[in-house]
Chain length 192, copies 2
Amino acid sequence: MDARQILKENITKIVELTDAQLDDFYACCRRESFRKGQFLIREGDEVTREYFVLSGCLKTYFLNDELKMTILQFAMPTWWASDYMALYNHCKAAVNVDCVANAEVLSITAEDRERMCHKIDAINHFYRWRTNRGYAASQKRLLSLMTNDTKKRYEDLLVQYPTLFQLVPKHLIASYLGVSRETLSRLYHASR
Amino acid sequence: MDARQILKENITKIVELTDAQLDDFYACCRRESFRKGQFLIREGDEVTREYFVLSGCLKTYFLNDELKMTILQFAMPTWWASDYMALYNHCKAAVNVDCVANAEVLSITAEDRERMCHKIDAINHFYRWRTNRGYAASQKRLLSLMTNDTKKRYEDLLVQYPTLFQLVPKHLIASYLGVSRETLSRLYHASR
């Protein structure tokens, strides 16, 4: 797998980047492999990096005192993930990030990212653009969650992550939607 | 009220800006006054602008088919508001933005903002920084909402908007929290 090429495509979909600029940015990235179930971030950790998924799938989730899991996000290939609250505000991680399936990722520290944004204009635009989209998607999810229409939430999920049902066990999808497995099963069979 | 000064303070908390750069940016801004209850954005509108609140208070909300209101965000002075999904993706507004109290705002079009981001590096950094924070806050709210602890959500709200209870009727705060007025009243009195 050509990690540099995957990263390049992700960035140049949004902004133009010379090969030298890409080399500069790529030199800041660390490539790592994680096995299914392995943690990238644990609640309480200091968070210094964000992760770009090359293959596999991550989940960002919270466990309450009764160990009930709430999934905030899945991250599929070419998605970025971290505990952004912790990353930007230098507070401890409030969530966990682990692997739903074996994953290869690139990671970059917040410090390197900031340095690159100041050095390379295009990278600054890229991150601004990406976060804009992330923010808008997050607002949309919030709205979808608050307006509480499970069927619509399920349909949105299929549009957002069309390959999710091949990759992720159903109980995790139910946890993302905030519904029981029985409700999910009913929606799944009704939609086929 | 010196609108330029308020905007300047909001931006220069984050990045340095020369007077000439501020003039350039401010020249793109339109100053407007709205009365309590007046709409800035209506569901179904084309959305071309985002709004910076100088005084007063806005709310961003969704009405379902039964006219049940779900409040996504309050915007107090020095907060920014829009339907960002519509603004970035050029789709119709999914939410309404109106005034909880008479408001003065500055607004800028997405087009001018993009132009300014390309012209003035500091503005590019400012918007990237601001959206990072917005995204992180939105993730935090999502988590808070999904983990479903009403008391904690209420406390977070007091921390996030300490002056809210002076500005906003209680039924709107209940709608923001997704609880009944009775539950809100219980939390309110328990916290005093």
